[in-house]
C-alpha cells in the first residue's frame, strides 16, 4: 500500500495515456481501477476463464496474469475501443443480433479474442473458431451463438451481404 507508485506511458484504444499505479498491480487492475475501463471483467483472478482477455499489441492476453508494468510503451485494446465513430464493430453487431451475449459478463473477452482471430484469419472454419475461443468460458450461451456471430461478422467484414441462417434464430 505504501509502495511508491509506478508511472508508465502506453497506448490504450489508440490514445496515449500515462498512468500511475502500485507496481504489483496486474494490467486488469490498472485498466479497471486506475483507468476506469470497467468493460474488462475479472472472473477468477487466476487465468482460468478468459473474461479479462484484452489485446496487447494485437494479441489476446489474460490481463489478470500480466503485470501492468510490462505494458509500458505497448498498445492495449479493450472492449471500450471497439466502437468506432459511434458504430458497433461488426463483431459487436453480430453478437447483439444473434444473442451471443446473454449475461454479457464474458462477452468483452470473447469479442477481443475473436477480433484477434479474424485479424489473422478472415475466414476461419468452425473448428478454428472453437480452438481460438477455447480459453474463454461462457456459462450462458453454450457457445453456439458465439460461433455463429463470429462467422456472421467475418462474412460481413469480408464485404459479404451475410444474414443469419433462419434455423439459427428460429430453430429447425
Amino acid at each position: 500500500m505504501t509502495d511508491p507508485k509506478a508511472v508508465i506511458a502506453l497506448t490504450v484504444n489508440g490514445e496515449p495515456v500515462e498512468v500511475a499505479f502500485a507496481p504489483h498491480k496486474t494490467l486488469l487492475e490498472v485498466l479497471r481501477e486506475d483507468l476506469g475501463l470497467t468493460g474488462t471483467k475479472h472472473g477468477c483472478e487466476l487465468g482460468e476463464c478468459g473474461t479479462c482477455a484484452v489485446l496487447v499489441d494485437g494479441k489476446p492476453v489474460l490481463s489478470c496474469l500480466v503485470l501492468g508494468l510490462t505494458c509500458a510503451g505497448r498498445q492495449v485494446r479493450t472492449v471500450e475501443g471497439m466502437v468506432r465513430d459511434g458504430q458497433l464493430h461488426p463483431l459487436q453487431a453480430a453478437f447483439a443480433d444473434l444473442g451471443a451475449a446473454q449475461c454479457g459478463y464474458c462477452t468483452p473477452g470473447f469479442l477481443l479474442t475473436a477480433e484477434a482471430l479474424l485479424a489473422t484469419d478472415p475466414a476461419p472454419t468452425r473448428e478454428r473458431i472453437k480452438e481460438a475461443l477455447a480459453g474463454n468460458l461462457c456459462r450462458c450461451t453454450g457457445y453456439l451463438k458465439i460461433y455463429e456471430a463470429v462467422e456472421l461478422a467475418a462474412a460481413r467484414m469480408r464485404g459479404e451481404d451475410a444474414e443469419p441462417a433462419p434455423e439459427t434464430l428460429y430453430g429447425n
Binding site: 479497471r32 444473434l98 456459462r139 450462458c140 453454450g142 439459427t168 429447425n172
Partner: protein
C-alpha cells in the same frame, strides 16, 4: 383484460353491435415471436453494462470476510483488537454485531451474517473487515484471532442418518435430518399388484455448482438521514430487502435494494447472502460506502448448488408400458444450512407425474444437514435429479418390455388440460410433438440399437414449471407488478421489480408493451429491480419471469391502450373497436390515414384524463391441491422437452464425447425466438457439464471436508472443445395462462440432457452408469465389470433406513378426491412455508 377505474380513462365506448367484450382489431404480431436484439444487447457488447463490481463511490471502503477453516466447530473466542488498529482498517465486526438470523425460507431462518457461536462448513464466515483498500482488508484478516473447539463433522447424508447427535442445527424433523416428507396419492401397492413388471433401481446425482462468470459483489451506502442503499448481484432483490430489514432492524421504507444486472445466476444468486448484510452493516457503522467482491474461491463456498441426491425408484408397468404405480425415494445432501432446501426436497418428488400418466404415486423425501457448503436451487431446482432417475429407468423398462423407448413414452403421455395424481393442473402439453421431432431429426428409428459398438443414441424427456404457484412468503398479493408510464414524446417506461440475469427479462417487458401499443421495443425504456422505483416482482427464479412479469406487463399495456383508445376514438368520432395501434401510430382500422402518431395520441389522452400511467399485476391461478406439501409443484403452465443425445465412448479411456444433441422444446409461444434458442442451447451446454464432468468434491481427509476444487480451472466445465452440435426444434403450443401463450425455457431444456446421455452410453457400450457425472473412470469400471461377466452397472448399492413419518394419504382425482389429505379437517395449508401474517412489506 377487464378495464379498471384506476387508469383514469372514461367509460370505454362500445362497438355499434353493443358487444361489451369486443377487443381491439386483431393484427398480426409485429414484435412477438421475432428474433430481435435484446434491449440491453448493445450495452453488453460494448462493455457499458454496469455489473456490481463495476460500481465505485467516493471514499469507498473494501470489505473482506474471514472464513472458517473447520467444517464444524464452536467459536470459543474471537479477538479483533489487533485487526482494528491495523493500517487502513476502519471497522471489524463479528457475529455479535449481527445476532439476528435470516434465511430465504420462513421455515429455515438458520443463517447468520457472521457466525456467532458455531461454524458449519469450511468457508462459513466469522468476521469481516472494512479497510481503505482491498489489500489492507485482506492483511487484517490475518490479525483476527479465532479460537475454535472442533466438533465431529458429518460428511454425507448416510452419516447424518446414522448420527442424529450432535446435531448440526437445533431444528429439523429428526436429528440431522432437516426435512422428512411422506406423501401417498392413491394406493401404490394396488398398482404394483396390477403390474406385469416391477422394477426397482437406485440412482445418484452428484452435486454441482452454478459457476456464474461473475462473482457475487455488493456495494452498500448509508446516508446520515437514515437511508441504506445496496447494489448487489442478486436474483432476488425483494427477498434481500426483507432479509436486510430483519437483520439490521431497519424499516423497509429506509432500505433501497438495487439488483445490478447479474453476470450469470442460474439460481446461485437467489438467496440473501452473508456478504450483502455485512457490507450494509459496515456502511452503517463507518458512514462510508463499503464494497465486497467475492473471490472465485468464495463463490464455491456460497454455493447453493445442486443437491447431491440418492434416489430409489420402484415402478410398476403393464406390458404396453403403461405405468400402474410409482414409488420414489430421495435423500438430499443439504450441506450446512437450510437455504431453499425444504422446497428442493419437495421438488425431488413433485414433477414425476406431469410427463407420463402415473395413476398411483408415493413420494418419500429426506434432506440431511452435512458440514459442507449449503445446497440450494440450481437451474431445474430439485427436478433434474429425479428426472435423471425416471428417464433412465424408463429406458430400462422399455428394454425389459421389448418396447421402443420413444414409442413407450408416446403411448402414455399425460394428457393436456388434466390433473395429475398429486393434484397438479396441466394446461397445454406439447411433449408428443417434441418426441416426434427429435425422433425424426435424429433418425432414431433406423439408428437406435443399430449403431456400431462405441457409438450410441439415447432419448429422454422432461417438464418444468413456468413459475411457482405460490410465493415463498404466503400472502394474497400479486407475484409480479408493473407500472407503465406513457410520455408526451411517445416514449413509454415500464417499471418492474424483475431482475435481468442474462435471460432477457428486461427485453420481454419491452417486447410485450411494444406489441400491445404498436411501438418499436427500442422506444420502450425498462426500469427494473430497484425497490425504490419498481413494484415487487418476486425475483428471477423458478422460470417465473416471462409468464408472470409478462402477464403483468400485458395487463398494464392493455390498460394504457384502453385509456389512449378512448381519447383517440372521441377525437376521431369513431367506435373504440376501430382504433388500432401499429407502427408507432394510432388510427382507424378501416381508414388507416385517419389517425395520429402514438405521441399525439398520448397527448390527447393526457389532456383528457391527466398523466397516462397504468399498472398491471399477476397472481397465479389457485392450484387444486389442498394437502400439506401441495405448495410445491403447481405452476400456471408446464414446459415440455424431448432430447436425443448421440455419444461416442472410447473403451480404452472411458471418455464419453457427445458430438450432437437434438432437442425439441414446447415453449408455448416464443416472445423472442432468438432468445429462446439461446436458452435452449445454454441449457444443453449446462446439462452436458452435469452429465459428464461437473462435480462438487470435498476432501474427507481427517474429516476436514475441504472443497477439492474451488477454482474455475479444476472444477471442470465444458469449453468450446467439449460443446456439442445442437439441433433445436421449437414446438409452439400456446398455453392460455402464458402471455401470448408463452411458457418457460430457461430451465426445462437442461433436464433431459443427463438421462439422454446416460441412455446413449448404454446404447453405445452396453453399460449402465446410474449416476452423474458419467466420468471416464466410472465408464471404465462398468466396462471391466461387463468384461468379467458381472452386472455391467456402476451406481449406488443401497438406500439408508430412514424413520419416515406417517404418510400423508391423498386420494387421487380419479378416486373422487378433493385435493385434501385423508383426515385433513382444518383449512388446508397449501404451502411448505409457514403461513404468517404479512406486515407492510
Amino acid at each position: 383484460m377487464a378495464t379498471d377505474g384506476r387508469s383514469g380513462g372514461q367509460a370505454v365506448e362500445r362497438s355499434s353491435a353493443g358487444e361489451a367484450t369486443a377487443g381491439p382489431p386483431v393484427r398480426p404480431p409485429a414484435v412477438i415471436g421475432k428474433a430481435l436484439r435484446k434491449v440491453d444487447a448493445v450495452a453488453k457488447v460494448t462493455g457499458r453494462t454496469r455489473f456490481a463490481d463495476d460500481l465505485s463511490l467516493p471514499r469507498m471502503l473494501y470489505c473482506r470476510l474471514l472464513r472458517s477453516p473447520h467444517p464444524h466447530a464452536e467459536i470459543a473466542r474471537v479477538d479483533v483488537s489487533r485487526a482494528l488498529v491495523a493500517d487502513g482498517v476502519r471497522a471489524v465486526i463479528t457475529g455479535r454485531d449481527l445476532p439476528i438470523p435470516f434465511g430465504i425460507l420462513p421455515v429455515s431462518q438458520d443463517e447468520h451474517a457472521l457466525c456467532p457461536d458455531r461454524v458449519r462448513f469450511v468457508g462459513d464466515p466469522v468476521a469481516a473487515v472494512a479497510a481503505t483498500s482491498e489489500e489492507a482488508a485482506t492483511a487484517a484478516l490475518d490479525l483476527v484471532a479465532v479460537d475454535y473447539r472442533v466438533l465431529p463433522a458429518i460428511a454425507s447424508p448416510a452419516e447424518a442418518v446414522a448420527t442424529p447427535e450432535p446435531r448440526i442445527h437445533d431444528y429439523g424433523d429428526d436429528g440431522n435430518l432437516h426435512k422428512l416428507i411422506d406423501l401417498e396419492f392413491g394406493t401404490v401397492d394396488e398398482g404394483f399388484a396390477q403390474a406385469d413388471a416391477v422394477r426397482e433401481d437406485l440412482f445418484f446425482f452428484g452435486g454441482n455448482t452454478h459457476l456464474p462468470m461473475e462473482q457475487h459483489a455488493a456495494l452498500a451506502e448509508w446516508s446520515p438521514d437514515g437511508k441504506l442503499t445496496i447494489w448487489s448481484s442478486t436474483q432476488t432483490p425483494h427477498y434481500l430487502h426483507r432479509a436486510l430489514a430483519k437483520v439490521l432492524e431497519l424499516p423497509p421504507a429506509r432500505i433501497r435494494v438495487v439488483a445490478t444486472p447479474n453476470g450469470g445466476g442460474f439460481g446461485g444468486k437467489s438467496d440473501p447472502f452473508n456478504h450483502e448484510i455485512v457490507v450494509a452493516k459496515l456502511a452503517m457503522m463507518t458512514g462510508r460506502p463499503v464494497k465486497i467482491t467475492l473471490t472465485r474461491e468464495e463463490v464455491f463456498y456460497c454455493h447453493r448448488g445442486r443437491h447431491p441426491t440418492l434416489m430409489w425408484v420402484r415402478t410398476g408397468v403393464k406390458r404396453d408400458g403403461a405405468i400402474t404405480a410409482m414409488h420414489f425415494k430421495s435423500l438430499l445432501d443439504g450441506g450446512g444450512y437450510g437455504s431453499y432446501g425444504v422446497a428442493s426436497t419437495y421438488y425431488t418428488g413433485a414433477l414425476q407425474t406431469v410427463t407420463y400418466q402415473v395413476p398411483r404415486y408415493r413420494f418419500q423425501g429426506a434432506r440431511a444437514f452435512t458440514n459442507k457448503p449449503p445446497c440450494g436451487p440450481k437451474r431445474g431446482h430439485g427436478t433434474p435429479q429425479p428426472r435423471f432417475a425416471l428417464e433412465v429407468q424408463i429406458d430400462k423398462l422399455a428394454e425389459q418390455l421389448g418396447l421402443d423407448p420413444a414409442e413407450m413414452r408416446l403411448r402414455h403421455l399425460q394428457p393436456p388440460n388434466g390433473v395429475t395424481a398429486n393434484w397438479l393442473r396441466i394446461g397445454s402439453m406439447g411433449l408428443g410433438p417434441c418426441i416426434e421431432r427429435v425422433v425424426a431429426g435424429s433418425d432414431w428409428k433406423s439408428r437406435f440399437r443399430q449403431l456400431p459398438e462405441g457409438r450410441g443414441l439415447g432419448l429422454a424427456c422432461s417438464s418444468y414449471i413456468s413459475g411457482a404457484g405460490l410465493p415463498i412468503y404466503w400472502n394474497n398479493m400479486p407475484h409480479s407488478g408493473v407500472q407503465l408510464k406513457c410520455d408526451r414524446g411517445g416514449g413509454v417506461t415500464v417499471f418492474c421489480g424483475s431482475t435481468e440475469i442474462g435471460q432477457g427479462s428486461d427485453s420481454v417487458l419491452a417486447y410485450i408493451v411494444a406489441e400491445v401499443l404498436g411501438l418499436d421495443p427500442f422506444d420502450v425504456t425498462v426500469v427494473t429491480a430497484d425497490t425504490d422505483l419498481t413494484p415487487v416482482d418476486l425475483g428471477s427464479y423458478s422460470s417465473r419471469v416471462t409468464l408472470m412479469t409478462g402477464n403483468a406487463a400485458l395487463q398494464a399495456a392493455e390498460r394504457a391502450r384502453e385509456v389512449i383508445t378512448a381519447a383517440v376514438a372521441r377525437k376521431l368520432q369513431l367506435p373504440t373497436p376501430r382504433i388500432v395501434f401499429a407502427a408507432g401510430r394510432v388510427f382507424d382500422t378501416q381508414a388507416p390515414d385517419a389517425g395520429m402518431s402514438f405521441a399525439e395520441a398520448v397527448q390527447l389522452a393526457e389532456a383528457a384524463g391527466g398523466t397516462v400511467g397504468t399498472v398491471g399485476s399477476y397472481t397465479p391461478p389457485r392450484s387444486p391441491g389442498r394437502y400439506r406439501g401441495a405448495g410445491v409443484g403447481p405452476s400456471p403452465a408446464y414446459s415440455y422437452s424431448a432430447c436425443v443425445a448421440e455419444v461416442t465412448v472410447d473403451p480404452a479411456t472411458g471418455i464419453v464425447a457427445v458430438p450432437k444433441v437434438w432437442i425439441a422444446h414446447d415453449i408455448g409461444r416464443s416472445i423472442n425466438a432468438a432468445a429462446v434458442m439461446g436458452q435452449v442451447e445454454g441449457s444443453i451446454y449446462m446439462g452436458l457439464g452435469e452429465a459428464l464432468m461437473e462435480e462438487m468434491v470435498h476432501r474427507d481427509h481427517e474429516r476436514r471436508l475441504v472443497h477439492k476444487w474451488p477454482s474455475l480451472l479444476e472444477y471442470k466445465s465444458p469449453t468450446t472443445l467439449e460443446m456439442c452440435d445442437v439441433v433445436t426444434y421449437l414446438v409452439e403450443d400456446p398455453d392460455p395462462n402464458g402471455p401470448f401463450g408463452a411458457k418457460e425455457v430457461g430451465q426445462g431444456p437442461l433436464l433431459p440432457v443427463m438421462p439422454a446421455v446416460a441412455n446413449a452410453v448404454y446404447d453405445a457400450v452396453g453399460v449402465r452408469v446410474d449416476e452423474v457425472p458419467i466420468t471416464p473412470e466410472k465408464v471404465l469400471r462398468a466396462l471391466k465389470r461387463k468384461a468379467k461377466g458381472e452386472d455391467p452397472r456402476v451406481g449406488p448399492a443401497g438406500f439408508p433406513d430412514i424413520r419416515w413419518p406417517e404418510p400423508t394419504r391423498v386420494p387421487t382425482p380419479w378416486e373422487g378426491g378433493d385435493g385434501k389429505a385423508l383426515g385433513q379437517t382444518t383449512k388446508s395449508e397449501t404451502t411448505t412455508a409457514k403461513v404468517r401474517p404479512e406486515r407492510q412489506h
